[in-house]
Amino acid sequence: MEHAINAHAKVRESRFDRVFDAVNAVIMALIVIIMLYPLYYTVIVSFSDPYLMLRGEIFLYIKGFTLDSYEYMVREKSIWTGYYNSILNTAIGTVYALAVTIPCAYAMSRKGIKGKGAIMGYFVFTMYFGGGLIPSYILIRQLHLLNTRWALIIPAAMSVYNMIIARTFYQSNIPDELYEAAKIDGASEFRIFFSVVLPLSGAIIAVIALYLAVGHWNSYFNALIYIDDRKLYPLQMVLRAILVQSQQLQNIDPNSVTPDELVEMMRKQMLATTMKYALIIIASLPMLMIYPFVQKHFVKGVMIGALKG
């Protein structure tokens, strides 16, 4: 009898549930399409004929395949200086910030350290209060870091949020027995950190490194206020110059006279728009390529942070 009742209940729920599941799947698919369509559109336009794009014929697939947009964009030198600067700043900045954040997070994770609470308060206070934009700017100026790449690297020594995530990792993943065993073996605290804890820190170093790297790569505001020298512009600043300020690109020559060159110039005008789409793809390529491999770690980081929060 019970079995019959249960079976009946299961049949009842599964009809509604199946409808629900189907509707849910459709909604999810729609959401994914909405989220990704802008990117998809960017890709197909960048490979399509600019004239067709102007006429509004491109929505779902590439028409009039051409590599011209990319070809012209690739010739723009400022992009490559931008790439170079971004790679350099990101690499140095990430290693440097890791070197400051990880030891601190480890130290804060150890039990029985006196004054830990006060020091933690010292750190956390800065998450909610700060001097503001202008005092920071004045400081950079006083330190003679204006217009250097170091203005982008040095101040970003440590994000307290990142440090807390790493600290939580250490608190949950390194058992006290390990410390005791090492001490019995006569290891100094430094030795414990470098020889015992660091080798075990692979996962958290990966997560924090990724957070830092993405932060450096995507940021533009600090470069905006601290750097004037175009040769030092990171990629995002170059992007801003071309996409937002609609800067004249160097390889579009306004001085053409002959009819042939006029046609060429008109074509270049149309290319000007599709080139921008190509640029967005060029600039986002690194992120898009490593993203599938890397997003797992980001989510893990958020989980740890959320638990603490």
């Binding site: 959401i31 004045i138 950190f193 993203y291």
Partner: protein
């Protein structure tokens, strides 16, 4: 022979019970054992001091007429002059209104979406499908602000932008949206939802995974359908998380960052796009009115703290959840 079980004294040789070796002060002993731990913290402490606390000290230029050559101490003290100037300025209410509305609209439109998304994702049967969808919804979050704004500007172009192309296809008239002050908030908010919804759902999904499966089983046996499950079990379970995040968001209602607004701003839409932070950038960095803009920044921070406290207190009175 007595062995003093006194933690204060060094365990010393003394088989003959003679007087112990000179006592090491427990503090010295602690330091000599653990100083390396403090050294590991030291770089972080120093950097935070220089780049976070020193600017706080420098914020006092809000009360002075700061001149770079005179330094902070040498600049003349003027008290609340800059604050008064800001609050009585011609554009104060416009800046205040723009900042508040932009924040409010973003909150109203953007806060529920990640939650709903999390509920829907949580109901997915196929784990593989669920993970794929999740991964895909995070992608916009990883695009840089400049890329996203570049895309927005391209899409909104009157002649070549896809939005206008669709409008004309449907029989409407193409408009230059980015120059229209009335359209700015919509553009800003919708693109913000697009970029942040997927990533924002992570926290709620994490909270949902913590819902007691036994309760769900019991409800299912009692005949609850999926929607009832969501409304009566899932939603109340993650309500604390939702409230905490809501409090945090409300508390920062008057801080709209300048990053994205600056990129979408132009002389034509300034009426609605100029917020406090972009004003500070323009007048402070570009026009070098350091003291005045520092005062604005301080004013903004104080309002934020007041807002956060108010919202937190209200939440605490209405329910159980609050930040402190």
């Amino acid at each position: 022979m007595t062995m003093k079980k006194d933690k204060q004294t060094n365990i010393s040789a003394g088989a003959d019970g003679s007087a112990a070796a000179p006592r090491r002060h427990p503090f010295i002993k602690y330091i000599s054992n653990y100083y390396q731990i403090y050294l590991l913290m030291l770089p972080a402490v120093i950097f935070i001091f220089i780049f976070c606390y020193y600017p706080m000290y420098g914020a006092q230029i809000a009360f002075r007429d700061y001149k770079f050559k005179l330094g902070i101490w040498g600049s003349e003290w003027v008290g609340l002059k800059h604050f008064i100037r800001f609050v009585t300025g011609a554009n104060f209410w416009q800046l205040f209104r723009n900042t508040l509305l932009l924040s409010l609209y973003s909150l109203v439109a953007g806060f529920p979406v990640p939650i709903i998304l999390a509920f829907l994702l949580n109901e997915m049967r196929s784990q593989a499908f669920k993970r794929t969808v999740q991964m895909l919804t995070y992608i916009p979050h990883f695009m840089s602000t400049v890329s996203v704004c570049g895309l927005i500007l391209l899409f909104l172009k009157r002649d070549t932008g896809i939005i206008n192309q669709v409008i004309t296809l449907l029989g409407g008239e193409a408009k230059d949206f980015i120059s229209d002050p009335k359209a700015f908030r919509t553009i800003y908010v919708l693109s913000g939802v697009w970029q942040g919804a997927g990533w924002g759902s992570i926290i709620y999904l994490a909270a949902l995974s913590g819902v007691d499966s036994q309760i769900i089983e019991a409800a299912r046996i009692d005949g609850a359908n999926r929607i009832q499950k969501i409304l009566y079990i899932d939603f109340p379970s993650i309500l604390p998380t939702i409230i905490i995040l809501l409090i945090l968001n409300c508390g920062s209602i008057l801080s709209v960052g300048s990053d994205k607004v600056l990129l979408l701003q132009n002389p034509l839409n300034m009426d609605t796009s100029d917020v406090i932070s972009t004003y500070v950038y323009r007048i402070g960095i570009l026009d070098a009115q350091y003291s005045f803009t520092t005062a604005i920044g301080l004013f903004n921070s104080i309002i934020n703290v007041i807002m956060l406290t108010i919202v937190n207190t209200v939440a605490g009175k209405l329910g159980d959840t609050s930040l402190w």
